[in-house]
Symmetry: C2
Subunit: 300 residues, 2 copies
């Protein structure tokens, strides 16, 4: 393997991912573990990182640039939020000391919004990646996931953003609520999804009752699990889109994340007449971390 020039790290609540980057900026190797921030005490961060990246280290200190929940209050070291409006690519990382001299750690801060109160950690780095690719981009970046982010970008800045707990609600309802009996299996009915998105978007006040109807339709009318799953996903993404309407209506929209989920959001927005550019989230994260690395090395 070529010599690792620096190491890119995306350290979320449930996952730790790392990439070895060569002198030419190419990815030489990648690794991931379940050592997310949520399961670690303060003293466990450095060993968890070294378990993953030790094979890539030489004698000299290798820069490690990390974004995500690793910078939260319960993380390795707190990297205080920067408030909007701010340029996500201009962040100054925290550089806490490490026990192991083979690494030099840089933790990127998250971004906060005072009102409506909101926070992000990690998504600002993906946003920096989007802006770095296209400095003139004026529009919205949607990052669906456990906590879906809607980020308004203008003049290289994050102007405002909002979070919806869409992925977490879907997981809780489909795994732990009475609806778990209805949505089992891998099949997904796209027509049921489309209909449900439209229902919540046009009548958002009905959501509280629509959810239980998924159960009742199964008991009374033999609704398939695929239709139930499509409806649950559609009702929740419809609720997300209803709340985020000021973000996507009449805007340029890019969507980044896991491909299947990105496709659902793109489909839902397309039905509303919004054409979206879909992005791979690893590409965006690495673009943002590369930018942070470039800033470090160009510093006087």
């Amino acid at each position: 393997m070529k010599k690792t020039n620096w190491i890119a790290v995306d350290w979320g609540t449930s996952q730790l991912r790392a990439w070895a980057i060569g002198l030419d900026g190419a990815v030489l190797d990648r690794a991931a573990s379940a050592d997310g921030m949520g399961g670690l005490t303060q003293a466990e961060f450095e060993p968890a990182l070294l378990r993953l990246i030790a094979p890539w280290l030489g004698d000299g200190p290798t820069p490690v640039i990390a974004c995500g929940m690793v910078g939260a209050k319960q993380g390795w070291v707190e990297a205080p939020y920067r408030a909007v409006p701010c340029q996500p690519g201009a962040a100054v990382p925290m550089t806490p000391p490490t026990q192991d001299r083979r690494i030099k750690l840089h933790i990127l801060p998250g971004v906060s919004q005072d009102s409506p109160a909101d926070v992000m950690r990690g998504e600002e780095t993906q946003t920096a990646g989007v802006i770095h690719e296209n400095a003139a981009f004026d529009g919205v970046l949607c990052l669906p996931g456990t906590h879906t982010k809607w980020i308004h970008i203008s003049a290289k800045e994050i102007v405002s953003f909002r979070t919806a707990m869409t992925g977490e609600l879907f997981a809780l309802l489909s795994q732990h609520s009475v609806l778990r009996h209805s949505v089992g299996g891998d099949d997904f009915d796209r027509d049921a999804f489309d209909t449900a998105v439209g229902e919540t978007l046009s009548r958002p006040e009905r959501l509280a009752q629509s959810l239980f109807t998924i159960r009742a339709e199964g008991l009374l009318h033999g609704q398939s699990n695929a239709a139930a799953k499509g409806r649950l996903s559609g009702l929740l993404i419809g609720a997300d889109l209803a709340a985020a309407k000021p973000y996507w209506l009449g805007q340029q929209v890019q969507i980044g994340g896991a491909p299947a989920l990105v496709a659902l959001y793109a489909r839902a927005l397309e039905i509303q007449g919004v054409q979206c550019l879909t992005r791979d989230s690893e590409t965006l994260t690495l673009a943002g971390l590369r930018l942070a690395h470039a800033k470090l090395t160009e510093a006087p």
Copy 2:
């Protein structure tokens, strides 16, 4: 103890409750266990019941009248739904055989609605209790809980009803989501509750984003756990009320259930200008079961 004339049973998903009723109709004794329908196989129902009521049994067969999930497909024996509109007090119970000759079992059926698809098991018995007390009642019975029911009653019939998963959503979000960090403790801020109810009622489309704001307000502005809990409860009850508006607007409303939860719904409705009669759910359940017992004994 006086001789038990019959035994009233409310058998839900997570709880089994029983009352020994005397010849004069008074409650002689009561008992409860965690042997809810959700945790029992078909063969375990009779032993679970006998563990609870054996001390009340004499030699002859004692009638046992049960309502709730015990009559579901996964219950002791399925008591098929009756479709709305129907008189909840006129139900004919299932009488499955029992191993133990000291009891004669009667299981009351639930009620279903074809469109919008909805089901209830147990709440129809409380509704029968309300109607039995006041045959002229024309209005709405709200039964908040894990699955809140809104039941339109007219001319002694259940005309229509709807279910919202409000209690289950509150439990999942406060125990298993990222909001669990924010809502710990027993304190509850009533002003935060009132504000949140009004927010969801006036802008139901914002719910998806309002939930995460609870977390962000704690991180950024030191929002107390009491305020966070009040807000979470208010947002969800507001969403319930938004969906149920056709049920409570301009209607006579009675609310039955656990006193603290009944008080919250009554408060939320009062702010909307709706005066409610609050009811004790045990009283309603027993009234409905007494009515079912009376029907059995008056039969030819």
